[in-house]
Every structure is written in structure tokens, then in C-alpha cells.
Symmetry: C2
Subunit: 356 residues, 2 copies
């Protein structure tokens, strides 16, 4: 029995899973493809299930998480399932008052800015995210040979939601705290790194096959700020997962200038948005890395998926060609699936990638 | 008499104005400093004046534009006035139904997406922006030795507002149009380039001393998209201003990857946001330019201005040091002044820059 009271799950062996081979820098016999936010908004079967379920309640209901996570695997035949969750789940589970407001995003009841507010942040006990672990166990039993990717928000992105009190365009209170009170900032990020690591370890123990650390907002920072104020905490999370044996994917939006630093933080796979081509991304990661294969994930522009198939096909082929500069390439979007995306477009992309 | 019915204004001679010397790549005896959005939101005297005035009406009232534009010059002693206006003004003046909604931004009555909607876009007649020309003439008479910067939104940014119908995080309909119907896209941007050029020429004829072309959203694009779909139209606007004799500043947010292309578009001064240091920006512009001095504008993070004076002072000194890699450097923010900024912080920055 593990600490969470659940039976320890021996990780499945998936020796032929293209995603896991690619994550180790090998060239699988077909290129792996999945889509960030594939489980969710763009699928009518998802919208139906979620109709009367608030987001956080849905994320804490194992059967619902399992079904929503499976929907895009069934529909599109993608090479990975991504756990249906929200980056605010571990904060919610730890007891921070917050809600996911439709059309707005996460809203925190009381922004966290002062020393006393930071010191009062609750610690995440593994038991508090037992419903997520239960969902992982259900999924592992259902998924057959398809790997399951777990995920969490990175310390900086969680900090921005906590400090601003919600989504922010300029992250001004977050950056003000960072520059005005660096010690307090590092105390906050240290606590969030701990919470993130606990959450990801629970997912690993429950049986996920890979983990993605999302630093959605890191692209708002200069490289100097990233290295000084964010990198040590993200690196600690990624290093803390080394013992789990599952590949670690690290992704942020608009992080072209930060790829070297992010690659250095200990990720096996570096996610890239659409702003720079993958061959340029491969150069940047290679320049920053002392050893190990260069594995990239990305980087179709989700907005381009609304342009109709001929344009989408052109973009997919371009991304595949540019991605060949890496040792291995997991085809994905450069950000989450947009809600208005035609799901058939996703299915056709998977067919195209697999047909090659 | 000019085409707009106003007396032709002989441009003032401001041989010692630091901004204009710097724009030509010379080193003035003091470093010029001004702030994007200095005329507006952060000033109590501005909020008082605007209390009962909708934005677009304010922008079309010459005496009000003059007073609002002068406020930060009086208060901070900056080295340039920036015309109080809005990037939607020329579209509004041409007859496109739109409003500036407080807390939201520009909202267009009917999004422009189809061929017929694009072909029906009205042309801007110079007379329609005569109130802006009148404001410029008032300002030129009031400003003494302080140069006045006119401005307009670049074709891509205007297109995004028109196609999306308002502010957009993902620019998905804009990008879909670009990729799905490139001919239509270029027809739209051609019309917007014409409108922007007309508007800027009116400002130049009325007597502004410099012009800034804002491509606020260009950072949402890859360099490939920028070069193919945006660059030709921005370059046409900038080239069309060459005959006016006023320096041209070109700026966008998150455009580190695009600086080479933007420098190539014909700007005398390249604006840079805070994401890359100015010495790196200088390298990128230098690599892209065949001749001419490297003049940069920027790049304090507006969010960092909320961190208190010791942090702000540190940041200003760092930016000045990094900016010395350019032939000349106009100190500014890397985006507009945030509404919650303490105006005294701006005054102290000007004092610090001028004390050196």
C-alpha cells in the first residue's frame, strides 16, 4: 500500500509506445502525435458530460476524469492520453479558496502577496489528490497500449494566478513581488515547487507513463528573470521526478528565448510554441545541452487549425519537416486546442501523421 | 493650403532635440526618454478630464487631445510628447462602426471577414481626420522645443481588431483568413496600409516631429508568417513616409524574433519590449541591416515599475547599460504605462536618466 492508501501500481511496460520511444530520443516506427487540451472543449461529447459539472468537481470525480480523458483517444487515435485536470487542482485540493469561472479561468478568493499570506499557504498532502490518483488507476486499466501523460502547472504559472488573483495579461503584481522582494518570491516559489512535486509524484505512483510540467506564462519573462526567479524551482520539480523513471515534458507559451534554460531544467522533452520553427528550436536546445538526445514537442499554431484542411495539411508537413532536425519529435500543437476547433481536423492530422 | 484645408505647417526646426538627434543615430547631450501611454491612464489629471468623455469623442476633440498630450510633458519633463489618440481612430473616422469599451478595448460592430466585407471597407479621406490635424497644430504651437510624436496602428494589428471584432488572445480568425485565403488577406492589409499611410501623412503635414507605427500584436506571429503576410504592408507604410522627412519608429510587443524583419521594414528606430536585452536586440538589428545607424527604443518592463524605486532604479541603469550597444538609445518602456503605475515613478525615471 502506498501512502495514499491505494495499492502500489507497477508501471505498465509499453516497450513499443511511439511517445515513450520518442521521449528517449529513439525513432519509433510511427511519429507520435497528441494535442494539448485534446480532452475537453472542442469535443461535443465532452461538452455534454460537463454540462452540469463545475470544472473542479469534474477534476475530482475519477470516473468522469477517466471518461473525458478517453474521449479523444477513442475519437482521434492519438498516441497519448493527457489526464483531464486543471493546473489549479493541487492548490484547490490543498485548501486554497479558488474557482474555475467559465469564460474567465481560475479566480482565487484572496490574492497571495504578503509574507504572512505566503507563509499561510497550505501544504499538499498526497491524500488530498487521491481522486486524481484513482482516475489514473482507472485510466491505466482502460488504455491498453496508449500511454497516459499526467501534468501539473509549474511554480511560476501557479504563482501568477495566486498573486494576481486570476488570469493576468501583464502579471504586474507577480513581477513587482519578484523584483521588490526576491526572498519572499523564492519562499513562494519554493512552496509551490513542493506542491507541484507532490502532485506529480502521486500521479507517477498511480501509474502515469509520462509527465508534463506546464509553465504557461513563462513567456512573459525575460531570460534573465526566468533564470534568476523561476528556473531553480522548475528544475527542482523536474529533478525530483528523476527517480520515477517517467519521461518529463516541459512546455511554455512564447518561450523561444527561454528554450535553452528550459531544456537545462531537466526535461527529457521540450515543448515549443509556433513562434519559432522546430529546426531553430533544436539548435537552441542543442546549444544549451551538454548531453542527451534533443526531443521536441510541438508546434502547430492552434489558430491555423481553423484555416481549412489544405492549409492545415501544409502546416503539418512543414512542422514534420522542421521537426526532423531534432533526434525525435512528438507532433503536437504549440498551445491548447481552441474551443472552436473542428474535431475532425484533429482526426485528420493524426491520420496524416500516421500515414507517413 | 493643404488638401485638408488647413494652412501648411512648416515643420519646426528642433536641432537640439535629444529624441530627434538619437533617431538619426547621433548621441545627444542627454539621453532622450519618454513613455508609451504616458498621455493617459496613470495620471489623475487625465482621468479627471476623461470622466465624462467617451474615448473616440475625446480623440476627435482637438483642445482635449492637446491638453491630454501636454499633461505628461509638464509633469514628467519627458523628451517627447506622444499624440493622445487610439489606433482605431482612422477606422472610426473612415466610417467603420466601432467603439472603445472601457475595460475591454476596441469593439467592432460587424467583424470583417468575407471578400465583400473587405471590399466594402471605406477609404480614409484626409478631411475625416482633420480634428487630429488640428490637435497637432495646437500642440506644435504649445510644445516649444519638445518634439511631438504622431502614431498609428500597423495594418496587421488593425486587421486583427477588424477580423476578430475586438481584442483577441489567439487571433484565430485573423490567422485562419491569412492561411486560408492569402489573396483576400493581402487585399485587406493593402487597404489598411493605405488608410494608415493617409493618417500618418496627415499628421506629418500638420507638423508632428516623428511618427510611431505600432504593431501591437505582431508578436503572435512566427517570423515566416510575419515576412509573408505582414512585412510588405508595414514596409509600404514606412516607405510611404520617407518623403515626409520625419523619423519613423516601429514597435511591437513580443517581437524579439521579428526584430530583424521589422528593422528591415524601413524604420529609423526599432522599439523593443522587455523580453530581450537591448544588447541582444542591437545584434539582431545590426545583422539584418545593410547600412544606417542602429537606434533602439525601450525596454523597461512596465510591470517592474510597480516594484518600488530601488528595483526600478536598478532596472533603469541596466537598460541604459545594455542600450549602449546601439548607436543611439531612446529610453522607454517595453509596452504602455500600466494604469496602476504611480506617476511619480515616471518622473523619477526621467530625473535619473537626465542626471547622468
Amino acid at each position: 500500500m502506498t501512502k495514499t492508501g491505494a495499492p502500489a501500481t507497477a508501471r505498465r511496460l509499453l516497450p513499443d509506445a511511439p511517445l515513450l520511444l520518442a521521449a528517449r530520443g529513439e525513432r519509433p516506427n510511427r511519429q507520435p502525435v497528441w494535442f494539448m487540451r485534446q480532452a475537453g472543449r472542442s469535443l461535443p461529447e465532452y461538452r455534454k458530460l460537463r454540462a452540469d459539472q463545475p470544472m473542479l468537481r469534474a477534476c475530482m470525480t475519477p470516473e468522469l476524469v477517466c471518461e473525458i480523458t478517453l474521449q479523444p483517444v477513442r475519437r482521434h487515435g492519438v498516441d497519448a492520453a493527457i489526464l483531464f485536470s486543471d493546473i489549479m487542482v493541487p492548490l484547490h485540493a490543498a485548501g486554497v479558496g479558488l474557482d474555475i469561472v467559465p469564460g474567465t479561468g481560475p479566480v482565487v478568493e484572496r490574492p497571495v502577496r504578503s509574507a504572512s499570506e505566503i507563509m499561510a499557504l497550505p501544504v499538499l498532502e498526497p491524500d488530498a489528490v487521491e481522486p486524481v490518483a484513482a482516475a489514473v488507476r482507472l485510466l491505466v486499466a482502460e488504455l491498453g497500449q496508449t500511454p497516459l501523460i499526467g501534468f501539473a502547472g509549474a511554480p511560476f504559472t501557479l504563482a501568477s494566478y495566486l498573486v494576481e488573483g486570476g488570469p493576468s495579461r501583464h502579471h504586474e503584481h507577480t513581477k513587482a513581488l519578484m523584483h521588490a522582494e526576491p526572498d519572499l518570491w523564492h519562499a513562494l516559489l519554493g512552496r509551490l515547487a513542493e506542491l507541484t512535486l507532490t502532485f506529480l509524484k502521486v500521479q507517477a505512483a498511480a501509474g502515469v507513463d509520462a509527465l508534463q510540467l506546464f509553465d504557461s506564462w513563462a513567456g512573459a519573462l525575460s531570460q534573465r528573470e526566468y533564470r534568476q526567479f523561476v528556473f531553480p524551482h522548475s528544475a527542482r520539480v523536474l529533478a525530483g521526478l528523476a527517480g520515477t523513471g517517467v519521461p518529463r515534458i516541459h512546455f511554455g507559451v512564447g518561450t523561444g528565448e527561454l528554450l535553452g534554460a528550459m531544456a537545462h531544467a531537466g526535461a527529457d522533452v521540450v515543448g515549443v510554441d509556433w513562434r519559432i520553427p522546430l529546426d531553430v528550436a533544436a539548435q537552441r536546445v542543442r546549444a544549451a545541452r551538454e548531453h542527451g538526445p534533443i526531443v521536441l514537442q510541438g508546434n502547430l499554431d492552434p489558430a491555423a487549425l481553423l484555416a481549412g484542411w489544405p492549409a492545415v495539411e501544409r502546416e503539418v508537413l512543414r512542422v514534420i519537416a522542421e521537426g526532423s532536425a531534432a533526434d525525435a519529435h512528438v507532433l503536437n500543437l504549440g498551445h491548447g486546442v481552441l474551443p472552436e476547433t473542428d474535431p475532425d481536423m484533429l482526426t485528420r492530422i493524426v491520420e496524416l501523421v500516421h500515414s507517413r
